[in-house]
Amino acid sequence: MSVLIFVENWDGKFKKLSFELISYGARLAEMLNTTAVALSVGNVDNGELEKLGKYGASQIISAHNDSLNVFDSQAFAKIIANLAKQENATVVVLSNNNTGKAVAPRLSVLLKAGLGAGVSKLPLSIDPFVIYKKVYSGNAFSNLVIKTEIKVLTLAQNSYELNETSNQAVITKVAVDWNADAVKTKVIEVQKLSGKILLTDADVVVSGGRGMKSADNWAPIVELAELLGAATACSRPVSDEGWRPHEEHTGQTGKIIAPNLYFAIGISGATQHLAGVSSSKFIVAINTDKDAPIFSAAQYGIVGDASKILPKLVEAVKELKGK
């Protein structure tokens, strides 16, 4: 038996989310009295693979084949399912990011394993296997029983604390005996935004809404974000108006994020907006309207005009950072 944790890599490197997954999987393995096995697919060197051990994986399987440099959900699901069978996995854990969302449902069918998507904590009980997950876009939560012997879980990003252990992991390399035709996805063109902090990875996010009045007023938001090492975001009307790029739109129909700190500046806090940000650990709201719904979701608030408050806030953060 084992808990199998699929960890994606980005140009051969792991990131915080990979270690969250291992920390979660290792703790789950403990609950189930079994071992945590990490599975990396792609070209990753041993130094990088060893990092996974530090978070509690006792075995690391590294599978690679050049045809897998292209992400193809069907091919990835097949590889993970084969290894899950080989490792006698009772639970397979993936991230609830683009890759995990694409692969996990396929795994569920291949393994006939019930899927719990977007969990943010450990199961509430093991027998029956009950998970806790968001429903109705964060307006409620459900207790979901997974009835099958094998389970697939996807873990919401930034929802589980890193946990370092003194674990020593064994690394096994497996060759993927693979017919390259099985990878049906062909990439025609890649458009990368360079040098930006990814909104889904960011610990701090500074976000502006229609209360910012125009695209020309964004400089203090960008400056505040730079000072805090934060990503910038916006509400939907702001991206619809073209004040900010579409990638920044958060909410039910945009990105769903869970940073440690979210600044909502000139954002009213409509349910569809909150659906994307309500899992943030802290929300700070700045709004002229003291009755704006955003204040019910926020821990800290300032009632006032953002154009007056932001410059002062930027100064205060500069002082803090000694700049």
């Binding site: 307006n139 459900s142 458009q191 039910q252 802290f282 926020a298 005009d305």
Partner: protein, 249 residues
């Protein structure tokens, strides 16, 4: 070429959900049911593709797994412009059950392009599209923000971390869509509403499939502590709170 758009029927997103029977069931009184926002956009894109005759699309069908009570939502999809509809007459007990039903429809109807949404706003599963593709052993592309047909080939834009990628896969394919697939959902015009009444809505009985998961209870979110307000003249106080109280910056 034929397109199938899978639609789920969800409470309007501003619904304040409540639960009954000891937090085991959604209280449906007063709920406005709508086409899941992603599915509305998929349908819009499917119709845009059909509008251009050079794409060679003969038919746009919508499919829904649900009881009779969800027919108004299906009629709405017909009013927006779908040519016909299929309703699998069953309560959608879980994603596995739903995907298995849809797989049969896709196989029998020989669709070339199948649209699913990235998630439905009720159970936030992000599950049915991928499962459907695996049941069919079709390729699928997720996080799709654009679909074009060029020289008989389908070119799909998908979101990747920090950017976008344009890919192609052989049809038939399942496209699992998100933001960007269409700008604004197409709205039903009066003529469409009239026509929808006479368009075919075929009801089929479900396959016997056991669900793999089951919701046993609902909970409301923990109420947040009251917001602490800071003097607008002194935002420095906010920075101090974030640093010393929340210990977050």
């Amino acid at each position: 070429m034929k397109i199938l758009v899978c639609i789920s029927n969800v409470p309007d997103t501003t619904t304040k959900v409540k639960f009954i029977e000891g937090n085991k069931k959604l209280d449906v009184t007063g709920i406005q049911w709508v086409i899941n926002p992603w599915d509305e956009l998929s349908l819009t894109r499917a119709l845009e593709l059909k509008d251009d005759p050079s794409n060679g699309i003969q038919l746009v069908t919508v499919a829904h797994v649900g009881p009779l009570a969800s027919e108004p939502t299906i009629r709405k999809a017909l009013a927006i412009g779908a040519d016909d509809a299929i309703r699998i007459n069953a309560d959608p007990s879980d994603a596995y059950f739903v995907a298995a039903q849809l797989a049969k429809i896709v196989k029998e109807g020989v669709y070339d392009l199948v649209f699913c949404g990235i998630e439905s706003s009720d159970f936030n599963g992000s599950t049915v599209g991928g499962m459907l593709a695996e049941f069919l052993e079709y390729p699928s592309v997720s996080s799709v923000s654009g679909v074009k047909i060029e020289n008989g080939q389908v070119n799909i834009t998908r979101e990747i971390d920090g950017g976008k990628e344009i890919v192609t896969v052989p049809m038939p394919v399942v496209a699992i869509v998100q933001k960007g697939i269409a700008k604004e959902p197409r709205i039903a015009a009066m003529r469409g509403i009239m026509m929808a009444r006479t368009k075919p809505l075929n009801v089929v009985e479900p396959l016997a499939i056991d669900s793999l998961t089951e919701v046993v209870a609902y909970e409301m979110p923990q109420p947040r502590a009251a917001c602490k307000f800071v003097d607008p003249e002194n935002p420095r106080q906010l920075v101090e709170l974030l640093q010393n109280e929340a210990k977050i910056i």
